[in-house]
Symmetry: C2
Subunit: 343 residues, 2 copies
Amino acid sequence: MAGNVTDKSSESDIVISSRVRLARNLKDFPFPFRMDREQGIGVLNRVKDSLMNNKSALSKDLLFVDIRSLTAIDRQAMVERHLISPNLAESRADCAAIVSRDNRISIMINEEDHLRIQCIYPGMQMDKAWECCNEIDRMLEEKVEFAFEPRRGYLTCCPTNVGTGIRASVMLHLPALAMTGYIGNVLDACSKLGVAVRGLYGEHSEALGNMFQVSNQVTLGQAEEEIIKHINNITSQIIEQERVLRNELYKQNSFRFEDRVFRSYGILSNARIISTEESLRLLSDVRLGVDMGIIKQTGKEMLNELMLLIQPAILQKTVGRPLSSEERDIHRADLLRGKLRPA
Amino acid sequence: MAGNVTDKSSESDIVISSRVRLARNLKDFPFPFRMDREQGIGVLNRVKDSLMNNKSALSKDLLFVDIRSLTAIDRQAMVERHLISPNLAESRADCAAIVSRDNRISIMINEEDHLRIQCIYPGMQMDKAWECCNEIDRMLEEKVEFAFEPRRGYLTCCPTNVGTGIRASVMLHLPALAMTGYIGNVLDACSKLGVAVRGLYGEHSEALGNMFQVSNQVTLGQAEEEIIKHINNITSQIIEQERVLRNELYKQNSFRFEDRVFRSYGILSNARIISTEESLRLLSDVRLGVDMGIIKQTGKEMLNELMLLIQPAILQKTVGRPLSSEERDIHRADLLRGKLRPA
């Protein structure tokens, strides 16, 4: 999900967002887990200087975020917007992030590696995300030297990232595959093709709201373009299967299909107390209804916005104060009602 | 429920309708189960003549319904409107009903007894229902002689009706007593006081939509007025308990209370397929929400109308053709959406 970026790109009925991230480390410093405080600050300053003190248009668009200075809610909100990892949110003083105003770019400093460069684009736009990462990579290379060996490629803290250091992933909404159970077959096929499928919040997370993250497992021995092409190809096949199944389900019993998506819309736009999990589950149905042209009371852009706004920390930022779990469920319901009711 | 009669009377947040019915038999004929065809037609003609060929205003308001000439759907629709019993709907050629245009009065001929005179009024208006029955009873007595013995009172086919032949009943909506389980205590107390509690369609029927019929068990040894007073007293106590519980439930957690009634409203006003049972269950929640002043998108009169219109046979009459079970569920959902959406 790409925050407040609007979503008008292709395949947006199924592809929520495309993401590329690069793992990089500076040659002159040990890996973060072996750094002392001074070294950590050294990395931080070098990266900050390289990216923010230059005359590019991109540079002006970037904001430096001192993670330690944020409240717990602000940090959590950044996790919910997929700008930083839960690890970075909880970590030490020399951690930071540099993000673009539109939230498309996020660079984590001193997480597992010195640098995690991430670009997210709405819909099926992996090539653009890759181009964007590449541009930041080049900007950095003008000022710093990366840990790199000709035979092994970029060196990273965890061996699974050595080589290109790239992870290309797409966030897919796959309600029909999930409903019918065929998602199991997709997962099997993906794992045989060296592709991982995870939930909404990456590793070990559940596929809340029928959202699945598809990404490459291998980073070594293939060029970046090949990896991206591979993910694009597999994604196209999953999209095709999901579309066929959606149409089959609709043809089998259009009334039952419409009943499901409209009941979910009815609950979401009337509930007074609702959890994040239930909201995501119902939003999945509503999104399916919108994608199939059945529900016209709302649109994809509003649903993308709501998927972010209902998250616990973003919700508390919107309301402007810390809320108990029950208060969040009440404010979440208020928000959903306000945004989903037809004008 | 009093059909298309509007409901502006007192206690209408809990009392749906008040009903009085009198069992009567003509002295000159054997009980229906022992009559031959000719005798049956004799009873029918005597009653028809007594009620319809006189100059009273009431007489002009009555319609004679030859049950056998109706389609199965028309007969079932009369059952759903509580105008005739399921037994009468399925019975023999000499059965008939005389009903008033507003459906408040219904006189079954040759059901278990020669005559079952019924008057229904909306809300808590037992006295009016009794007065109305009494007027019809007097009209008949001017022309026919009832089977009556000074010591035993009116003779009826089933000994449980001997004496006054009266059954006074109220239809109560008791969601708070049902939700909390306290309805069990009410049922126990009622049975000790000689009062029966039944479901929406009388004996052996379930309490669909949290509707409970409270009526006297004893017809012998008490004057009609005493019986009616007894039912009125017990009803007042049940009403009081239901009101206290509703307010307690709301005070305990107003958000959860509102959540429940609004979710039900959201489903009812958005579903595309819905059964009678589910509709009645959700309508009970919505009615509770309206009674408590929480739901303002609809009103009690509309809910009373819907409780009738969603019934299978009435629904088919509205649509104008026989429908399969699945078609009914689809048309029922259409109807609910159309009637419940705020203008």
